[in-house]
Amino acid sequence: MSRQFNMRSLILSTGTTIILPLLLLFSLFLLLRGHNEPGGGFIGGLVAAAAIALKLFADDYPSAKSLLRVHPLQIVGVGLAIAALSSLPSLFVGENFFTAQWWTLYLPIFGPLKLSTPLFFDIGVYLCVIGTVLTAIFTLVEAEH
């Protein structure tokens, strides 16, 4: 392990364990409310990426990597695919490419749930941002080995 990870501290490590889920939840919250309040895919993605980077500093690289389970580049790919695919549904109802489509689902307990292509698009952006930031950070850490 290279130099900068020698600064592991118990407080940071424990704190991260508690804060990390909260941060990730918060990032989702930012993502989903983004259409109406400050937030959105970019901001949410940056928060989530920063949270995982925090894990990297508090613990070590393998634990941060296992937290993610997949390679960040795959996240980029999935995000890009979701965002690109969200441009297509409008074509099926005969509207122009990328025209927003809205659907409302009525769930038994939660009440009406609004789904839309902009939401999926934003989720794609979210994943893309997480993936790119983490690719950069992980790659650099690996290069230090």
Binding site: H35, A50, F121, D122, T139, A143
Partner: protein
């Protein structure tokens, strides 16, 4: 008609695949489509010959008045029939001629693309669409000329043809835009109703269009690319360089004749260039010995003749032009295919080595003689009808009758010589040994020339068939008015007939002295360094040298020099523009600055200054972090919540990233001299000052309402979101955002590749070695060029 054109392109796309399925019969299968299309166009003839005009339109870019619109009249149907008719024979022929060639699938691909493009060109009713097809013929012909791309010569000739025609194409597009501007429409059917000769843009318009047409149709001084294009396989030469592509320029001139033709500038240019091309082409043809070279130069002559006829502008000339064009396509297509047969079946490429083949190849010989007689204009072939009409048109022309008739007769004498070379030289006389055992080819290769030669004979005997069904309507489209002359084989004994006889006699005399004639004119070869081809080569060499020089000067490998040049240029240009402003007044206003804003401002100034001056990288890093957060504060102060949050987050991650990498980089060293630093500081400070001035000017002069009010109004009703910034990002301007995350993805892949995929770790393969050595060769030759 859209489907007609598209069908060829679709077939082209599948050609390599189908070629694998059908194997050695693929060309025969492909030939079915043009044959069907030929029948389709024939079915229009009754309508067209009555003077009907058929237009069809599909919207393509309606906002720019560019449509896929098609026009079928006498002229376009004549070309369409030639393209599809000869095209199907060529496919049959090529299938046999190139049998077993490893890249035959690719050959059919390009040939069919060319066929589709050519058909699109002559059927287009929209100038822009026409231009697209025009360029497509250029590109596909480039691929066809350079089909044997492993030979350097083939590549070079293809390149030459491409350069010449593309330069013309550029001019043509500009000309087309001018025509569209002057006529108020890009539709030919609208444009042809108008006479643009009085328009102020008329002269530049015709200069540009003529440049395009002349390069494509190989008029002097651009004629040199056509004989060189004979590097192509013979079926290509037979198709592109005799019957179709080179006639695209003629088609264009004929097409625009009613609109642009009624002026002295147009007529005299066309007559002069046409006559010069005619003479140049035929004199060079009489000196050549390669079978294909002779044919190529005589094609140049024919193209010149056509241009000259169009320049006459009379009713008779219009009829003569379409008749000559039709006759030429028939006999020249046949002769080219026979040249290919000579090469393929007897291994003969040079006329000097061919003699006495009539016993070994009797059928080929018969067909060749018929086609060559038509070329010579001997009664009763169709070429005779065309030549009589040509002479008559020139005699009754509107200008320069004497010089043009002399030129035409001289040209005709040489044409007879060329025809004799093709009809007598290879077939009669003593038998010479041939590289291959000479024999007649199979039906696939002989069918095309035979049918074409037979048609030459048929239309010669019964010219009214071609006249009534096809040529009258075509001539009408060229002339723009009714045609009252009719084709006939026999006009009685008159001046044209007399001139015909004279040229026939002189031509045959010349044939008997061919060897001496070539010897006499040997001096011409020494003049070739003055010719246009030499000029072209010099120009290309100059262009390459200039490119090398400017690359050397501008791209010297120092990033900061590029930056310096860019910034200094911007500084000069913007500064100059600012100095020229009339009411240059700045309203500096610091009254509304709040205390917290002033504080942030001061913090920022200090951080910027120290970030520039500090010696340690870690200090600079800390300062940059501070700077980023202060900027975020500014965003928040001025109502940009989302931006502020993003800035804070990005700043955090940036610092993190930099820490990861750069903690082990060295301390800053002083690398530049003091003089350089001072120079850079002056440039930097003046740029900064200019930006400040620019902002002050721009903010005090804002006169138009922004488009943001639209987004604010529509955000809730149509975007269902109350955060307008986010609605813009994911809904209104989602395509931009999509592009942006693509960039992010590229960055991620790039980063990953840079660290993980190292070239050094791979075992070096032979291919790599070859690549390296090729690169080295390229580098050395570049060094030589410099």
């Amino acid at each position: 008609m859209l489907y007609v054109v598209l069908s060829l392109f679709v077939l082209a796309c599948f050609a390599p695949l189908l070629h694998r399925t059908f194997g050695r019969h693929s060309g025969n299968v492909f030939a079915i489509l043009p044959a069907v299309l030929f029948a389709y166009f024939i079915s229009y003839l009754p309508l067209i010959s009555q003077g009907e005009l058929i237009t069809q339109r599909w919207l393509w870019f309606p906002g720019m008045n560019i449509h896929l619109s098609f026009l079928l009249d006498g002229l376009s149907v004549l070309f369409a029939l030639l393209i599809t008719g000869i095209g199907s024979f060529i496919l049959l022929y090529a299938n046999r001629y190139l049998a077993g060639h490893p890249a035959l699938g690719r050959f059919f691909l390009f040939l069919l693309i060319f066929m589709g493009a050519m058909l699109g060109l002559v059927l287009s009713d929209n100038l822009i669409t026409l231009f697209v097809f025009w360029e497509l013929t250029t590109v596909s012909s480039f691929m066809l000329i350079g089909f044997n791309h492993e030979e350097a010569e083939s590549r070079q000739k293809a390149h030459q043809g491409l350069m010449v025609t593309v330069i013309g194409g550029l001019a043509l597009m500009t000309g087309f835009i001018m025509v569209g501007f002057a006529a108020g429409s890009y539709e030919l059917s609208d444009i042809l109703q108008q006479d643009l000769t009085a328009h102020t843009l008329y002269i530049p318009m015709i200069v540009l269009i003529l440049l395009g047409a002349f390069t494509k149709s190989a008029q002097t001084p651009f004629h040199f690319w056509l004989p060189n294009a004979m590097a192509a396989p013979t079926p290509v030469s037979a198709y592109l360089h005799s019957a179709t592509m080179v006639k695209a320029g003629i088609y264009l001139l004929a097409r625009l004749q009613p609109t642009l033709g009624d002026s002295a500038a147009w007529m005299l240019t066309l007559s002069a260039v046409g006559a010069v091309t005619m003479l140049t082409g035929i004199v060079l043809a009489s000196r050549a010995t390669g079978v294909k070279k002779v044919l190529a130069y005589s094609t140049v002559m024919a193209l010149g003749t056509l241009t000259m006829l169009l320049g006459l502008g009379t009713e008779k000339a219009a009829l003569a032009a379409v008749t000559f064009l039709f006759a030429h396509a028939l006999y020249k297509g046949a002769l080219f295919m026979i040249a290919g047969i000579l090469d393929h079946e007897a291994g003969i490429k040079d006329l000097l080595k061919a003699s006495g083949l009539r016993h070994k190849m009797p059928k080929t010989c018969a067909v060749a003689i018929i086609a060559a007689l038509s070329l010579a204009g001997v009664i009763p072939l169709f070429g005779f009808v065309a030549k009589e009409l040509l002479l008559e048109a020139v005699l009754n022309g509107s200008h320069w009758q004497i010089s043009l008739i002399i030129a035409t007769v001289i040209a005709n004498i040489f044409v007879v010589l060329v025809a004799a070379l093709l009809a007598i030289k290879p077939w009669f006389g003593a038998s010479l040994p041939t590289p291959k055992a000479a024999h007649d080819p199979g039906i696939a290769m002989l069918l095309g020339p035979t049918v074409l030669a037979t048609l030459s004979l048929l239309f010669g005997l019964f010219p009214f068939i071609a006249d009534k069904w096809l040529l009258q309507a075509a001539a009408k489209a060229v002339f723009g008015g009714e045609i009252t002359t009719y084709l006939a084989l026999w006009h009685g004994i008159n001046l044209p007939l007399l001139l015909s006889v004279i040229s026939l006699t002189c031509g045959l005399l010349l044939y008997s002295q061919w060897a001496r004639w070539r010897q006499l004119t040997q001096g011409l070869e020494r003049l070739s360094f003055l010719g246009p081809e030499a000029l072209y080569n010099k120009m290309m060499a100059g262009l390459v040298a200039f490119a090398a020089w400017q690359t050397h000067v501008l791209q010297n490998g120092y990033l900061r020099n590029y930056l310096l040049t860019t910034i200094a240029t911007m500084l000069l240009l913007v500064g100059w523009a600012m100095l020229r402003l009339d009411n240059f007044h700045l309203n500096l206003n610091f009254q509304d600055v709040k205390i917290q804003e002033a504080t942030v401002f001061l913090i920022l100034l200090v951080t910027i200054l120290s970030a520039v001056l500090v010696k340690s990288f870690l200090a600079a890093l800390a300062l940059l972090g501070a700077l980023g957060f202060a900027v975020a504060l500014i965003y928040v102060f001025f109502s940009a919540v989302d931006v502020g949050i993003t800035q804070v987050l990005v700043e955090t991650i940036t610092v993190l990233l930099l820490v990861l990498v750069l903690y082990r980089l060295p301390e800053f060293r002083k690398l530049s001299s003091n003089a350089n630093r001072a120079r850079d500081a002056i440039i930097a400070i003046s740029s900064g000052a200019m930006i400040t001035l620019l902002i002050l000017l721009v903010t005090s002069a804002r006169s138009m309402e922004g488009i943001s009010s639209f987004f604010i109004e529509k955000s809730v009703p149509e975007g269902f979101g109350r955060n307008v910034v986010n609605v813009i990002l994911v809904d209104f301007r989602a395509l931009d955002t999509l592009g942006e995350i693509f960039v992010l993805a590229l960055v991620a892949i790039g980063i990953y590749a840079m660290v993980h995929l190292r070239t050094g770790s791979k075992p070096v393969t032979n291919a790599d070695k070859r690549l390296t050595s090729e690169l080295k060769i390229a580098a050395t030759s570049k060094g030589d060029a410099q």
